[in-house]
């Protein structure tokens, strides 16, 4: 039992980032036994196996729970006469641990930075985009993404951005700034995400630095900002949907799709509003990827194409914008009253993406977050 919200289970809808980190200990433990092998055992040759989009068996599918419209899975199964054997992870580290301990999956959904990691470790097969007609609809923005030069190993799946959700029935003085977290009207009912990247990234933006700033003096200033923010906060929590729908949070640092899911839960959906912030907008994407040890990569390719071709249905069901031309309009209709939830190419260009920090840069970020939490 690792999903976050009991109410969410009842409602049957969850946001993919609405994740309980308490859950994945078992999977992480599995990773420990493989630890020490690192990921470096694969070579680049492993990634260039030629694969064709045709059925080569049932699809072994590994994704966040509730992160793909289930009716698409049923349709795919009917259309091709195969089964989609689903399993779920509840965090990126848990997904990595499962991969490292040798489990075979045909299709996984890493975030951009974990895709970067997997590509560097030669863990992902090259994907022949020219054989997947639906990929033509993908925004050109993703022709050469930072995490996958030449877009050779991944296909973008979904888009998200981080901002502030708030209760418009309680608060009418939002100013479009991250500093609204300390809005006195919230009376101490502000939460920030319990996520080192989003936390430090937000502080960097408030201080006028790059989202991914790694300069020690800048990180120090951001750390001080976060520590100074603590007395005004009610908590660090990524359980955004419960926080807002239970009335505990009047202002919540969150991902855009959470707002859609919160609105499904509350009596007055229009009371839940969302703002992007002028100091900077963290944007991100998750991708489709096929691990090198996949047994049925052909079915996986067909599935990717099928899901992309049905992006509109998928976007409106999951609450996440999808990076295809066809999905933009239906999603815009869904968020008509709150257009800042939309992630368009323009938003992507204006926003900043989290980098996959490595070595001492990564260590410094971790240290800062640990110090903020422990202070």
């Amino acid at each position: 039992m690792s999903r976050k919200s009991i109410e969410g289970l009842l409602a049957g809808r969850m946001s993919r980032r609405d994740v309980l980190k308490v859950g994945g200990g078992v999977a992480l433990g599995a990773g420990l036994s493989a630890c020490g092998l690192g990921g470096g055992s694969a070579s680049e040759a492993d990634t260039t196996r030629v694969i064709e989009p045709k059925i080569d068996g049932d699809l072994v599918y590994f994704n966040w729970a509730q992160y793909l419209n289930p009716s698409l899975i049923k349709k795919f199964e009917r259309k091709y006469g195969v089964q989609v054997r689903q399993s779920n992870f509840d965090s990126m580290p848990a997904m990595m641990a499962k991969l490292r301990s040798g489990n075979q999956y045909d299709l996984i959904f890493p975030s951009a930075e974990f895709a970067d990691k997997l590509i560097k470790e030669n863990q992902l097969l090259e994907i022949p985009l020219d054989k997947l007609p639906a990929t033509e609809d993908i925004y050109q923005f993703f022709d050469d993404p930072w995490y996958d030069p030449g877009s050779k190993h991944t296909v973008p799946y979904s888009l998200y951005l981080t901002g502030l959700g708030y209760r418009a029935d309680e608060i009418d003085t939002m100013t479009g700034s991250w500093r609204d977290l300390t809005n006195p009207q919230a009376e101490g009912r502000s939460y920030i995400l319990d996520d080192f990247q989003e936390g430090i990234g937000m502080a960097n933006l408030v201080n006028g630095y790059e989202l991914n700033a790694v300069e020690p003096d800048q990180l120090e200033a951001s750390k001080e900002y976060l520590i100074g923010l603590k007395p005004d906060l009610r908590g660090f929590s990524s359980d955004t949907i419960t926080n807002m729908s239970s009335g505990n949070a009047w202002i919540q640092h969150l991902w855009n799709a959470d707002v859609i899911n919160i609105r499904y839960r509350v009596d007055d959906p229009t009371s839940i509003k969302f703002q992007q912030n002028r100091e900077g907008i963290p944007v991100g994407s998750d991708v489709f990827a096929i691990p090198t040890n996949a047994e049925h990569p052909g079915t996986a390719l067909l599935f990717i194409d099928f899901v992309l071709a049905n992006s509109p249905k998928n976007a409106t069901w999951t609450g996440y914008p999808m990076p295809t031309n066809g999905a933009e309009k239906p999603y815009a209709d869904l968020v008509k009253s709150e257009p800042e939830l939309q992630v368009t190419v323009e938003t992507l260009e204006k926003g900043q993406q989290f980098a996959n920090l490595e070595g001492t840069d990564r260590e410094n970020w971790d240290r800062v977050w640990t110090e903020v939490r422990a202070a």
């Binding site: 308490v22 420990l32 990564r362 977050w369 640990t370 939490r373 422990a374």
Partner: protein, 283 residues
């Protein structure tokens, strides 16, 4: 086969279980606690004892102290709540005794995480408790229970209460009730009887319960994560963060090792005390 040989053989499954699922993981944890991470954040076995230097960074002292403080408060609350419950069941449970014990254990059939999660719904600003308080006219604004140290300690108490009740119940149940009657026959007041007869006779149960509650409460992270606020960070959260967010398995393992060593001190203290009590009982 002698009885003794046979008895030793029956230990094998348990011993294998302990070696495989306790000693081996413990060994891996210890080995990783001296490890390093590579550029990609993977843990590698190495000789890097500096991980332990960081554990003793003064930065973490408040976190450790807070954990010990919360756990001590939890023990005190569990004792205050648990002792009367155990006393009632043992002395006045009658034919319902086993049913009442079963009721104490019943919540444990549901995962701790789920139960604490349920508390977030019960205690939230627009939750069940505040709803009742509002209906009674006691509050209009909603009392802020959640995200406070009190909520964390409450969650811990709720989570580990049965560990206190059961050993005290066992001690009370073992105790000869005529001792209490003898106290009364000798004109002792209820309080005097309790202080000089019942309490000493059940002290080992109290001690066992306290250790059983304290150990998991110190290392707990669920309660602080779900019910806590910005300033309720416990050592369990710190360790969990190293494994999940920070991807720093070696430091997480070093913290785990130090925490276990610290808890072992309490364990040794308890075992010695229990051993002495057993020796006195024999004498």
């Amino acid at each position: 086969m002698s009885e003794r040989r046979f008895a030793s053989l029956t230990l094998l499954p348990g011993a294998a279980w302990l070696v495989l699922l306790f000693l081996v993981p413990l060994g891996i944890t210890l080995a990783i606690s001296f490890g390093v991470t590579d550029e990609l954040g993977n843990a590698l076995y190495a000789w890097h004892p500096e991980n332990y230097d960081r554990v003793f960074d003064p930065l973490f002292a408040p976190v450790l102290l807070r954990s010990v403080g919360y756990a001590a408060a939890t023990v005190a609350l569990c004792l205050l709540i648990g002792y009367p419950v155990a006393y009632y069941i043992a002395r006045f449970g009658g034919r319902y005794k086993y049913l009442l014990v079963a009721l104490v254990v019943l919540p444990f059939l549901v995962n701790y995480l789920i139960r604490v999660y349920a508390w977030t719904a019960i205690l939230s600003d627009e939750g069940l408790v505040n709803g009742v308080l509002e209906d009674l006219g006691l509050t209009s604004d909603g009392v802020r229970f959640l995200n406070t140290p009190w909520a964390v300690i409450g969650g811990l108490t709720y989570g580990y209460l049965a560990f206190m009740i059961l050993p005290i119940y066992a001690a009370l149940d073992r105790m000869n009730p005529s001792l209490i009657e003898a106290g009364k026959d000798l004109y002792a007041t209820g309080w005097q009887t309790f202080r000089h007869v019942t309490w000493p006779a059940t002290f080992q149960g109290v001690l066992a319960g306290s250790v059983l509650v304290f150990l998991p409460a110190v290392g707990d992270f669920v309660s602080a994560q779900l019910l806590g606020g910005p300033d309720t960070y416990m050592v369990g959260n710190l360790i969990q963060q190293q494994f999940f967010d920070a991807n720093n398995f070696p430091f997480g393992a070093a913290l785990t090792t130090v925490l276990m060593a610290f808890l072992l001190i309490f364990m040794v203290f308890y075992l010695r005390s229990a051993g002495r009590a057993a020796a006195e009982a024999r004498a």
